[in-house]
Symmetry: C2
Subunit: 188 residues, 2 copies
DNA sequence: CGTGTCATGTAATCAGTTACATGATTCA
DNA sequence: TGAATCATGTAACTGATTACATGACACG
């Protein structure tokens, strides 16, 4: 079955919230969905055209005074129908490629300290990511966000937080273990 | 900088443990590294050839009695050097595409129960994954695994477990929240 | 006066999966 | 008898990133 075409459905999903341009989508993804989604312009713009010729979205050109024109897309009835269809399929489990763990898997190639440093670096990234969730959560709460959507937005934020926290705990545990290893064999 | 070529370094990593064939690598990845890595034959075999012509690995053909011949690859000094170089670079943070969360992000398109079902499905997958970690951990402990490697193997397992547990906790929390939402508005 | 934002777009490239083909052997 | 395992390999396809181009305006 499947044949996912993720970008297509990501676009339809965003348009189900409100009409917007490709540029808007990119922004939205990069700030609010960044912990579970990503898109590039090179993928976004051509797909938008394809969706239009499939009649899943319509477009209208908005004159920008000074600024460049923007093309605002709106999802059609057919588009909503297709989106719902996809939403009902079981979500596929993404196969990840987590470089840090691969590097650690063959960690004995390098001195313990080198691996510890990798983990510290990762920890910093994760902590930084966590702080962004706090801001984003505030945004979702304050703003005039449709309470229908709010529950679901909060669920995705909560997921990001919980996984990031688990990873940070792992970093701490791993650093402790490597610290002991280093004590046992202070050579290399 | 970067220009990662992840498959290349995944192969060198595995060969740093012991000589093996492309087929062996695929097996190893699919059972022991599955929670943080994946490779397809279509990627593995051509890359192995490329690595050989780069003199990073050597190959010898092993006659199989009855079974097909296998081509066993060994990492060279140059290969180890290149691998170490890569290991020292900071690990890049993978940009994920987690379909479940995208579907949940626009969850209000469907009845609450439909979203809950998605989460239950995911929960089952995660629980199943967790049980595999227990087996894998036992393997690493019992077997004649080089204790130098063991620490690092265990670290990757521990990461898998901790993240899977966090996700399961999130599933439970999310289901509880959606349960309350359903009570408040039993319509749709 | 240079940088950044707005906004769309395309071509080159790369990385990756999928589906096939081969063919002997073992197991139910 | 049919399926699964062993083992290598390739061609077709898809999906995605990257780097570029355009051009006006606002900010400091």
């Amino acid at each position: 079955m499947g044949k996912a075409k993720p970008t297509k459905y990501a676009i339809l999903s965003l348009l189900s919230l409100e009409p917007m341009s490709g540029y808007d989508m990119k922004k939205l993804i990069d700030v609010s969905l960044v912990h579970f989604w990503s898109e590039s312009y090179g993928q976004l713009y051509p797909t938008l055209r394809a969706l239009e010729s499939e009649k899943l979205v319509t477009s209208r050109r908005e004159r920008g005074s000074g600024k460049p024109d923007r093309i605002v897309y709106t999802i059609t009835r057919k588009g909503r129908w297709e989106l719902k269809n996809w939403l009902r399929q079981p979500a596929d489990i993404p196969r990840v490629r987590y470089e840090l763990l691969l590097k650690l898997f063959v960690g004995s190639m390098l001195p313990v300290e080198s691996n510890a440093e990798q983990i510290r670096l990762q920890r910093r990234e994760l902590a930084h990511g966590l702080s962004k969730f706090r801001l984003y959560r505030k945004m979702v709460m304050e703003d005039g966000v449709d309470p229908m959507h709010r529950v679901y937005f909060l669920l995705t934020i909560r997921h990001g937080e919980m996984v990031a926290r688990a990873r940070i705990r792992w970093c701490d545990e791993a650093l402790k273990i490597l610290g002991e290893v280093a004590k046992e064999s202070p050579d290399e």
